[in-house]
Amino acid sequence: MKPEATFLGSSIGKKIVMALTGIVLVLFVIGHMAGNLQVYKGAEALNGYSEFLHHFLHGAGLWIARIVLLACVALHIWAAAGLTRMNAAARPVAYRKVHHEASTWASRYMRVTGFILLFFIVFHLLNLTTGQWHPGGTFVKGEVYANLISTFQVKWVAALYIVAMIALAGHLSHGIWSLMQTLGWNHPRYNALRKQLAWIVTALVVIANISFPVAVLAGILH
């Protein structure tokens, strides 16, 4: 007797884990982008916002968010690894001639953009949350605005953030549409809207995020 098939062991189960954790992560990047827009209101506003996050729910709020996000990232990667393994095994002999009719660069390079984002998240946390890796000056805890300006004044750091955001653009533009399909949200009346929504969210998040290093390099923020 073969073992009973389980939800998490199945292909669709893993896809649903991928989609649900994806929703949490998409909402996070939207919130993160919106919060960061306060950099344009000046040092006081951004540092005050950071202060607010650190004291939300007597300091517990930030840790709840961190634990939930970390769990989502871990599950997202776990599902991706499982699905990738199944997919790699499913076609042992490759085609000599490959033709792409419907897929996009975003859909085909999800793993590549995912890896770029994983390394970027590690760098980003060391760079601007914990401060161990802070090219461009000394990291001062709580001085969010000054930390951001000093690190983005280093051209290669700014470039690295911009590259990571291009990877995010690819990952979001396919991921947002794809998670809706995976969760079964497909109806001819709304299908065009799914891709439009994916592109609107992607454009908002990525353009706003890229504007921060660009504004620092252009001298608008200093």
Partner: protein, 261 residues
């Protein structure tokens, strides 16, 4: 006015399931552009037989686009360059004189190559046997329209039931996933009243069998829908995902001898 074409074919040749295969080059000369792609292969094979070589083995049956046998990837596209077309319905007028045409079998672990371009698609049969039916007494055919079905539902069921099980979706999918096929088989019954009683068991069992056959998984590229000769829609995969989630949440383990009997 029919034109004649001279073509170079790069064809996958493989003696049997256990042998190593490889590409071999063949000239196809004086091919009328009115011929179907399979007729072109027939001409090439006649030449090979006359020269004392082994003809190229390929699957074919009805040659009218409904049996789903003529599985071959032509220049990177299952069933060739035309949309909504099986290989037998592809005509040589879709090619230019002097073209090189690469012809490969379906590539998937679940579809082992038997010989040359012939693959074993019985994994599909096992997926259907796992639940792609309704359990009912057979006998005389019931009266048509004995169970009323609204037209919209009947249309959706029929659109899914158009699937001919050719395997082009698996062949086109960058992940060799069979989800378009399996979802078509789940969906054509899910739209009909007769399919409701076993709807949740069906989707669970068929997905389990699909995974067992070692097909890949869907990452929503959409290549399957573009390759399908019968235009089976991605909407079916969404329905299967929905039903699978629901079935997984509401599944009741089997009980021995129900009701204490």
């Amino acid at each position: 006015m029919a034109k004649n074409l001279n073509l170079t074919l790069q064809v996958w040749r493989q003696k049997d399931a256990k042998s190593e295969g490889g590409f071999k080059s063949y000239k196809a000369e004086g091919i009328s552009d009115d011929m179907s792609f399979l007729e072109m292969l027939d001409i090439v094979n006649e030449g090979l037989i006359k020269a004392g070589d082994e003809p190229i083995a390929f699957d074919h049956d009805c040659r009218e686009g409904i049996c789903g046998m003529c599985s071959m990837v032509i220049n990177g596209r299952p069933h060739g360059p035309k949309d909504r077309t099986t290989t037998c319905q592809l005509h040589m007028r879709s090619f230019q004189d002097g073209d090189e045409i690469v012809i490969e079998p379906w590539r998937a672990k679940a579809f082992p190559v038997q010989r040359d371009l012939v693959v074993d698609r019985s994994a599909f049969d096992r997926v259907v046997a796992a639940g792609g039916f309704i359990t009912a007494n057979t006998g005389a055919a019931p009266d048509a329209n004995a169970i009323p079905v609204p037209k919209e539902k009947a249309d959706l069921a029929m659109a899914a039931a158009e699937c001919i099980g050719c395997g082009a979706c698996v062949a086109a999918c960058p992940n060799a996933s069979a989800m378009l096929f399996v979802s078509a088989k789940v969906s054509h019954l899910a739209h009909l009243p007769q399919g409701q009683a076993e709807r949740m068991i069906r989707v669970r069992d068929m997905v389990a069998q699909m995974d067992d056959e070692e097909f890949g998984t869907c990452t929503n590229h959409g290549e399957c829908e573009a390759a399908c000769p019968k235009s089976v829609q991605l909407e079916n995969i969404a329905l299967m995902n929905r039903d699978y989630l629901k079935a997984s949440l509401t599944y009741r383990p089997e009980v021995d001898a129900g009701g204490g009997l």
